[in-house]
């Protein structure tokens, strides 16, 4: 099961909606071994595509080193599907290289519905798992909060406080 704070889920959904119709992607880091996602890191989709996403290799190196320095690991790796359901595609499965991570998929095909699912992908085998959304437990200053389901004129989606 993936347990994740509401504010992080909101931030991920906001990121996916902002980049729609392109796919959005990112990571939520957490202390190594804790299985607790605490630090949301939106990543660039280097492919800038509606059907494909790819971390920029240099950004990834920087972020992975930073996690290493902070004794963190990628607890959640997320991306959005913009026209189809939140289920791993064959491409997702062939690329999945972090056996310890929760692969979170967000579908933005319906602008009114929040569609989030989480999967483990190990050796090409996909297992869906429940998502438990927590409403507290993360420092409110660590991740900004978002107004989901509205159309705010100015909201900082970049977690610039990080």
């Amino acid at each position: 099961m993936l347990s994740i704070d509401r504010s992080i889920v909101d931030a991920i959904v906001a990121h996916a909606r902002r980049d729609h119709p392109d796919e959005a992607c990112g990571v939520v880091a957490g202390p190594a071994g804790s299985d607790t996602p605490t630090r949301h890191i939106p990543m660039d989709n280097a492919a800038r595509s509606m059907t494909f996403y790819e971390f920029d290799s240099m950004e990834q190196l920087r972020v992975w080193r930073e996690m290493d320095d902070r004794d963190e690991e990628p607890v959640v790796i997320y991306h959005s599907h913009t026209a189809t359901e939140a289920y791993p595609s064959r491409t997702d499965i062939s690329f999945a290289g972090e056996p310890g991570a929760h692969y979170l998929l967000v579908s933005t095909r319906d602008s009114d519905t929040e569609e989030i699912r989480s999967f483990r992908i190990v050796d090409g085998v996909v297992t869906e798992e429940p998502v438990r959304i927590l409403d507290a437990g993360v420092d409110p200053h660590a991740v900004q909060s978002y107004m989901f389901g509205q159309s705010p004129a100015t909201v900082d989606y970049e977690c610039s406080g990080r």
Partner: protein, 117 residues
Amino acid sequence: MAIEVRIPTILRSYTGGAKVVEGTGDTLGDLLADLDSRHAGLKARLVTEAGALHRFVNVYVNDEDVRFLGALDAKLNDGDSVTILPAVAGGAFGFAAAAAIAQHGAATAARSAVAAR
């Protein structure tokens, strides 16, 4: 002195769980051959049967992506640090994505060829 190689979680089954191993070689290809002599099977996870760097991994020498340094022909020096990370990619449509991968592969190969000149 040797070359330090950082191994991602998914490949640590080949290194007995070690996060960092050491090896030697004048090029990345030589280094991987050297590592494979002690960590059998590691190279096959990084290099395709056709002898190219696998699309599912990113390999860096110090702070550079080796795709821009000539890939397996990238030159190494004692004291260099090599980092291996699983590439993070995917997407909704298998076929469109496969085409994107093929294109990307061709483009990187072309860039590598230019860089190697």
